[in-house]
């Protein structure tokens, strides 16, 4: 079986369902296809106050951002999935728009599910992005949450 690795930085909106359909087609022969789609939230959950988010801005590095994504896709080889995909937005992302698509396909389900969990957990802390949440009254640069760091840490045991 051939190995297919896709890793792309999307500068404009992408359709995760179309991407997933193509991914599943390219992974023919795999018995399991698993995926995660993250979309931009319409409400900010920073602290107590809940406020509408007007946009997210994802600042990125011209080379190191994609390199960090590739390193994560490569490291997920440990699960034995021959087909892995990460597509991540950069630039201005509007509420409801997809930010990230992670997918993995393998002969059996557990490897595909684990590879997807691993890739998204690592992306949430290690991917080279700087995110700004633009709300009606203010803007804030975001850092990974304690929950994100804990989700990452469980893969290092």
């Amino acid at each position: 079986m051939t190995v297919t690795l896709t890793c792309r930085l999307a500068e404009s909106a992408f359709d995760p369902w179309d991407e997933l359909r193509q991914f599943a087609q390219a992974s023919q022969g795999a018995g399991a296809v698993s995926s995660f789609t993250g979309t931009a939230r319409p409400l900010s959950s920073d602290g107590e106050a809940v406020e509408a988010v007007e946009a997210m801005f994802l600042d990125h590095h011209p080379r190191l951002t994609l390199e960090s994504m590739r390193a994560i896709v490569d490291a997920a080889a440990r699960f034995g999935c021959d087909h892995r995909l990460v597509i991540h937005r950069c630039g201005v992302v509007l509420p409801g728009e997809p930010i990230v698509l992670v997918a993995a396909a393998s002969a059996h389900r557990r490897a595909a599910i684990a590879a997807v969990e691993y890739m998204i957990d690592r992306l949430k802390t290690d991917a080279v992005f700087w995110k700004r949440e633009d709300r009606a009254s203010s803007s804030a640069w975001i850092e990974p949450s304690a929950e994100d760091r804990a989700a990452h840490a469980r893969w290092e045991q």
């Binding site: 994504m69 949430k124 700087w130 995110k131 640069w141 975001i142 850092e143 990974p144």
Partner: protein, 81 residues
């Protein structure tokens, strides 16, 4: 020397800055001090130990030489994806 700033630093100072570096500015630490003199409003942010320097796509420490270096980039803490 070209200086690139990302994330919040790009907002505070500007994403791309070009400055003349005196020969006495030998290291990343010295470059930070020089930048703080040029951009006093960003002095605190420039002194933050969590702000990391990157030269030729590699993270470097404070004692790294900047002699002959054409471009240095500064990374605030990553947000992740």
């Amino acid at each position: 020397m070209q200086i690139g700033f990302f994330g919040r630093m790009g907002e505070i100072i500007g994403r791309e800055v070009e400055i003349e570096i005196p020969a006495s500015t030998g290291t990343v630490a010295g470059l930070r001090r020089l930048l703080a003199e040029h951009f006093p409003a960003a002095a605190d942010a420039l002194g933050d130990a969590r702000l990391r320097a990157c030269i030729a796509d590699t993270m470097v420490d404070e004692s790294h030489s900047v002699a002959g270096v054409e471009r240095v980039e500064f990374f605030p803490p990553l947000s992740g994806g």
